[in-house]
């Protein structure tokens, strides 16, 4: 289950965060998304390490944490899409091909075009 999707600006500022949990605990997801920027930064700052990933916008699994997975997608304009899922059996390719592109691109363009009220500029 995807519990959170987020769009983070090129200055690592949150542009849009949507969590899909029933409880009033979105803050913990904010934390997860925020900390995952460490990984994104590390990948961006260490092109040697990322190797073939250099030109790849899909950053793949950022967080190999036991109970949830965090995926990242980095656009050319350094806008990041972060996706948090509790589905541990999900495959990278699935995320890449389906959920990520469709869900996040959809959100991004929708918010850009329609300027949804939730789209908060920081």
């Amino acid at each position: 289950m995807i519990v959170c999707v987020a769009v983070v600006g090129h200055q690592n500022n949150p542009l849009y965060i949507q969590s899909f949990t029933e409880a009033d605990d979105a803050l913990k997801l904010h934390h997860i998304v925020h900390c995952s920027l460490d990984v994104v930064d590390e990948r961006v700052n260490n092109p040697k390490k990322s190797g073939p990933m250099l030109n790849e916008t899909f950053l793949g699994l950022l967080y190999p944490i036991e109970n949830y997975k965090v995926y990242g997608y980095l656009t050319n304009t350094k806008v990041k899409f972060i996706l948090v899922t509790t589905d541990l059996d999900v495959k990278d390719a699935d995320v890449r091909n389906t959920s990520f592109i469709v869900v996040l691109n959809g959100i991004y363009y929708q918010t850009s075009n329609e300027r949804m009220a939730q789209f908060e500029l920081v």
Binding site: N13, P14, D24, H30, H31, C35, P64, E66
Partner: protein
């Protein structure tokens, strides 16, 4: 083969290095052993790896063992093959012989017997005991060795070497080592080949039922062991990796239910670093191994090899992945494992891994980015251990000690509860503990947030523990009750702890009692009754005590204090390592967790420092929701620490967070704190940056435009982020010039208190005159009590939806434009030509505002000398719609121009007060003319000129100045000064000419009148008052014929009047009374004051019609008697023709002739004698004879006389000759014709000899 497992294990443990067997044929070993063993371990050994590529091994340990040794003897052939790795890798045959015959007969056959076994790699070391001094023995030894070489060495391979006991040859040891190495290499290659073949065979059978993993394992590990012994760790590691892969494939094959393991005592402690934790025989199960132990064993072997390869970072990296994957496996088998085994194992595994890797890691040996990666892994390990530890602590009731922060919530609430087959139940003897725990729960009060912030605490648990625990009690079927119980709590109730705190135990008990009563009664009461939270805690604690074998961990969970100690240790470990890695955010966030513990214990200073870092992190990247969680705690720390500046700043930052993050009541509390502190007794004013809270901007629309030196009022929009009105004691706003950086900043101050309402406020500030340029808003500063605030924040101008969403910052818009100095008004004389002098004339002053309002302007008028303002001080003012305006003005003031044209021409009459006049409103924007009544005073009479003399004109004569000073602008700050020059003139300029002289002595005097003004002049009358010596001829009394009048003279044209006069011969004796004649002209003028001269103003009270006004013009005319009346003529007679010389006497002669008879009067006076006088320059001439004297001259006309004077020139050159004067005769009566020469040529004196000539000759 699996039966050999135990033996295999023993062999592995006992042999850890290569064996080189020594065949001691001649009992030499004891002698040479020290020297041989001294070469161990071998350095830079060249071996082949698995792919048959040469590899240099730096240190290769080995052991020399005699073939007679028990370790080598008692082995069965089968064993030898299976555990081939422990067999000798080389055989050294030690021989000596001093006799050739002995060699042939005894030694050689024996050696042949020894080396016939091809399996072994061997070579012969011939030991020569011969002393070098003993030549005989040495020679013999050489012979024997040569024979030996012939017999045993071949071309392909050297198998002999010679060792001189007394003086070993220099290269012997190298030779020996290379031979040993060759043997080892060959043996190694052969054995590896053998094992590989065997492994391949087994692998081919892998899918067959007979396949046995143990056999495969023994072969594979043997191979790995060979490599390990040969120090080819890379190859050994690869074998283990393949083994692990193979195992994971087989272990997960369906259909085979195997024991997982992990149920033994002590299994909770991870053995991932310790390969010898359990004997393999213990974990063998059928044809394979138990997963729990075996995977750990494999990892421990791998890590051991990696440490040997000096790759601790890889151990950490692999270890972390292993722990995660193994933890998943543990989760699958959680039902058969002890309670919380998984968590305990992960904690111990992480800590063991951290310890092992850090002890094997030495700083600074690897690249910085690799090092950072290592620390990140350590941070991850600590973090993982920390999470699991918190989970255990929560289960036994220390949940209240865990901060409900986002990081803890993220870790714990997404972590499922343990899933034991049966949730542990409370031991029978634990009732007192339960009671104690319940008391503890009751005593614990939920932590309250500062500023009265009401927030639902973040969950630390995935679901309510109470429900989860009771649900997992296998025999309990009363889960429905708890579903009901939970639903009462509400779906949003995330905290089991809270639930328990709210529900008293009695309540829970009563509900369960109800359930028990209503149940059919099939259940045993103790099991049926749902557990209370305290019971769950106690049960978990007891179960954990059974699970955990590590005393230290038990201690850590024994009390709240011990838990906190361990918790801090793990958190600090994670934070420190994250700080040293790339993952700064992780580090800083964990610092916040440490800070919360410090805060709890009253170490506010430490807490504040850490919280500041956390806040700076969130604030810097705009994560306001997270910031809102931490900032109140930081504020509280600072409040306690009495850090007023910090506390104020924190409050302001809290206020400036997004609106939705705090409710109004909370924000009001923040504001109250700010105001309270600002007005409290702070020692020093505290500076504070409120850029995010109070923002400001210029008003939308074009910037305020001001002229140079104009003050103004600047209107600024200030946005207040305060929830309530706030009073600012003073405010100051700086303006910055955009073009000129040197200009510095100008501060606009408002000292009066300003009340800011929430949202937008418009504030007006007085703007003093600024230098020309464009200005933007700089900094807003101000004071609230003792708080000196400062804001750099610009608020957005205009509607929000028009802003580009992607632009973060707008360029500063100019708010004020001060134009460069320019003419704002123009003052000029409205007349183009001269005005009448000595008359009251209107002077028009054209006031033309140049795109600038002259509202309430004041004009000061100051007349210069010779000019006066008329006594009544009447001023007329009218609007001016002249065509002389600039095109620019017309364009700019299009509207105004049209207005002024359309509207009636304004006219106003007023008076001048103290030399100044205030402009009426209508004249503020349109050009106007101010008519001032003035009179230029001139005392001198106009003088006419005769036709023979030229007119002496001077502009200055008629020029008068008038100084004007216009004060205008909103504050009369603009001053325009100008001095106008006005030209005044008489109406006419008079010239006279005697046109004719009649025979009767009448002179016709023509008077020409030049009009000097641009107005039509009408002459009504003219008369001449003649001077003495002239009289009017006829009876005209000096007036021309009256028919001439009125004579009209057009502007700048001429008119003429003829007078007839004659010389007056009658009254010559009278005293001179009137030396000049005066021309009087009575005239009228009709002209426009806008052009120039015009009829003089006459006060209306006199009632005279200005149109018929007659003016008098007087002009002086000087008449002279006629001068052409000579009576004597003087002539200079020519000088001698041969020239005159210096020193030579010359006769100068003048002839005087009487031209006419003198008057009788003159004759009586002169008595026919004429006085003469010769004037000469005494330097040039010497006059001989009388210079002055009387000569007699007849009174008759035509009488003449010659006056002769002897002169001698004194200098040579052209000199003036002496002149003859007649002093008694008026010069007018002397005609000098021809006049004497101006200059005469005087020659130089003749030669001096001429002076010798006697005078008489």
């Amino acid at each position: 083969m699996a039966n050999f497992l135990a033996q295999f294990q023993t062999i592995k443990n006992s042999s850890d290095r290569l064996v080189i067997s020594v065949e001691d044929v001649s009992d030499l070993w004891p002698t040479v052993k020290p020297a041989f063993e001294g070469r161990l371990p071998f350095k830079r050994a060249s071996l082949n790896n698995k792919t048959r590529n040469p590899v240099l091994v730096e240190k290769l340990p080995a052991e020399f063992i005699l073939t007679t040794d028990s370790r080598l003897r008692s082995r069965f052939p089968q064993e030898q093959l299976l555990f081939w790795f422990r067999e000798p890798y080389a055989t050294v045959v030690l021989v000596t012989c001093e006799d050739l015959d002995e060699f042939k007969t005894i030694l050689k056959p024996r050696l042949k017997l020894i080396v016939q076994n091809d399996e072994r790699e061997w070579f012969i070391v011939f030991v020569s005991k011969a002393h070098p001094a003993n030549d005989q023995a040495t020679k013999m030894a050489k012979k024997v060795y040569a024979k030996l070489e012939v017999d045993f060495s071949s071309r392909k391979r050297e198998r002999c070497c010679k060792y001189d006991m007394h003086f070993p040859e220099a290269n012997f040891w190298e030779d020996l080592e290379s031979k040993i190495m060759e043997c080892i290499r060959n043996t190694l290659d052969r054995r590896v080949q053998f094992y590989e073949d065997e492994i391949r065979k087994l692998s081919e059978q892998r899918l067959m039922p007979v396949w046995n993993f143990c056999n495969f394992f023994i072969l594979k590990e043997s191979l790995a062991f060979i490599f390990e012994m040969a120090h080819l760790h890379e190859d050994a590691l690869r074998e283990y990796d393949e083994l692990e892969l193979c195992y994971l494939e087989t272990v997960n094959m369906a259909g085979k239910q195997r024991d997982f393991g992990g149920a033994d005592h002590g299994d909770d402690q991870a053995a991932i670093i310790n390969p010898g934790n359990k004997a393999l025989t213990q974990i063998v199960q059928e044809d394979s191994f138990r997963e729990f132990e075996f995977r750990q064993y494999l990892f421990s072997r791998q890590s051991k090899l990696l440490f040997k390869l000096n790759r601790p970072i890889e151990v950490a990296s692999r270890g972390y992945s292993f722990i995660l994957s193994f933890s998943k496996s543990l989760a699958l088998h959680e039902r058969i494992l002890p309670f919380c085994m998984r968590e305990v194992w992960v904690i111990t595994a992480c800590l063991a891994l951290i310890e092992a890797t850090t002890s094997n890691y030495s700083d600074g040996l690897v690249a910085p980015d690799v090092e950072k990666e290592f620390f990140r892994l350590l941070g991850d390990l600590y973090s993982l251990a920390r999470v699991k530890f918190m989970r255990l602590a929560y289960l036994i009731g220390y949940g209240s000690d865990i901060e409900r922060s986002p990081v803890n919530s993220a870790s714990l609430s997404l972590l499922p509860w343990p899933k034991p087959a049966v949730w542990p139940s409370v031991p029978a003897d634990a009732s007192t503990e339960v009671l104690d725990k319940e008391k503890l729960i009751l005593q614990t009060t939920p932590s309250t947030k500062h500023f009265g912030i009401q927030r639902k605490p973040l969950p630390l648990e995935p679901t309510v523990l109470l429900r989860e625990a009771n649900r997992r009690r296998a025999s309990l079927s009363a889960g429905n009750v708890f579903e009901m119980f939970d639903s009462r709590q509400g779906p949003m109730e995330g905290s089991g702890f809270d639930a328990s705190a709210k529900m008293s135990p009695q309540k829970v008990l009563s509900s369960s009692m109800t359930r028990t009563n209503s149940s059919p009664g099939n259940f045993d009461g103790s099991i049926d009754r749902p557990m209370r939270l305290a019971e769950i805690y106690i049960a978990a604690e007891h179960a954990l005590k059974k699970t955990i074998s590590n005393l230290e961990m038990l201690k850590s969970l024994s009390s709240s204090e011990e838990f906190e100690k361990k918790y801090l240790e793990l958190t600090k470990g994670a934070a420190d390592n994250y700080h040293r890695s790339w993952w700064k955010r992780h580090g800083v966030v964990l610092d916040g967790e440490i800070a919360s513990v410090a805060f709890k214990h009253g170490h506010f200073d430490q807490a504040a420092k850490s919280y500041e870092k956390v806040c700076a992190l969130y604030n810097g990247e705009g994560w306001q929701e997270l910031l809102a969680e931490v900032l109140p705690i930081l504020a509280e720390c600072q409040k306690i620490l009495n850090d007023q500046a910090g506390y104020l700043l924190a409050c302001v930052r809290l206020l400036s967070l997004e609106d939705g993050l705090f409710v109004t009541k909370e924000r009001q509390a923040f504001q109250a704190e700010v105001v309270r502190l600002a007005h409290s007794e702070m020692k020093d004013p505290v500076p504070l940056d409120v850029s995010s809270l109070i923002t400001f901007s210029g008003n939308p629309g074009p910037p305020l435009e001001l002229c140079d030196r104009d003050p103004g009022i600047l209107s600024v929009t200030v946005c207040s982020g305060f929830p309530d009105d706030i009073t600012l004691d003073s405010i100051s706003l700086t303006l910055m010039a955009t073009s000129n950086a040197d200009e510095g900043v100008k501060a606009l101050k408002s000292s009066t208190a300003i009340v800011l309402h929430p949202g937008r406020n418009t504030i007006t500030l007085d703007l003093p005159p600024q230098k020309p340029g464009s200005y933007v808003l700089g900094v807003l500063t101000g004071q609230i009590g003792q708080l000196r605030f400062r804001s750099h924040g610009f608020s957005k101008v205009g509607p929000a939806e028009s802003d580009d969403v992607m632009s973060y910052e707008k360029p500063a818009k100019p708010i004020l434009k001060v134009s460069k100095p320019r003419a704002l008004v123009d003052l000029d004389a409205a007349v183009s030509s001269a005005l009448l002098i000595n008359e009251h004339q209107w002077l028009g002053i054209l006031v033309r505002p140049l795109n600038y309002s002259l509202k309430a302007a004041v004009l000061h008028i100051d007349t210069g000398p010779g000019l006066e303002i008329e006594e009544t001080h009447i001023i007329e003012m009218e609007s001016y719609a002249g065509v002389s305006e600039n095109d620019d003005d017309e364009v700019q003031k299009d509207g105004a121009q049209i207005d002024s044209l359309n509207s009636e021409k304004k006219f106003e009459r007023s008076t001048l007060h103290d030399g100044k006049i205030v402009f009426p409103n209508w004249a503020s924007d349109t050009p106007s003319i101010l008519w001032v009544l003035i009179r230029a005073i001139s005392d001198t009479l106009n003088r006419g000129s005769s036709s023979v003399t030229t007119r002496r004109e001077s502009i200055v004569d008629g020029m008068r100045t008038i100084a004007l000073k216009l004060e205008f602008g909103a504050f009369h700050n603009q001053i325009f000064e100008r001095t106008l020059a006005v030209h005044f003139t008489h109406p006419f300029y008079v010239r006279t000419r005697v046109t004719d002289k009649c025979n009767d002595g009448t002179l016709l005097l023509q008077v020409i009148l030049h009009s000097e003004v641009k107005a039509t002049l009408t002459i009504y009358d003219a008369w001449l008052d003649l001077q003495d010596g002239f009289v009017h001829s006829g009876q005209t009394e000096g007036r021309p014929n009256s028919k001439f009048f009125p004579l009209i003279i057009s502007p700048t044209s001429k008119g003429g009047i003829l007078f007839s006069i004659s010389l007056d011969k009658t009254n010559a004796e009278e005293a001179v009374t009137q030396p000049e004649s005066i021309l009087n002209i009575k005239y009228g003028i009709s002209g426009d004051r806008a052009i120039g001269a015009h009829p003089p103003f006459i006060n209306e009270s006199t009632g005279v019609d200005s149109a018929r006004q007659e003016l008098i013009f007087k002009s002086v005319i000087v008449l002279q008697r006629p001068v052409l009346d000579p009576c004597l003529a003087v002539g200079f007679l020519p000088l001698p023709s041969d020239g005159i010389r210096v020193g030579q006497l010359v006769k100068m002669q003048w002839r005087v002739e009487r031209l006419k008879d003198l008057n009788e009067k003159e004759i009586s006076e002169q008595n026919d004698e004429v006085l003469y006088e010769v004037n000469a320059n005494s330097g040039n001439w010497m006059i001989a004879g009388r210079k002055r004297g009387h000569v007699s001259l007849s009174k008759n006309q035509g009488s003449r006389i010659i006056i002769t004077v002897l002169c001698m020139p004194l200098v040579a050159g052209y000199v003036r000759p002496p002149l003859l004067g007649l002093p008694e005769i008026d010069e007018a009566n002397i005609r000098c014709k021809p006049s004497g020469p101006h200059l005469v040529c005087v020659l130089p004196p003749t030669l001096s000899s001429s002076f010798c000539i006697p005078v008489n000759s």
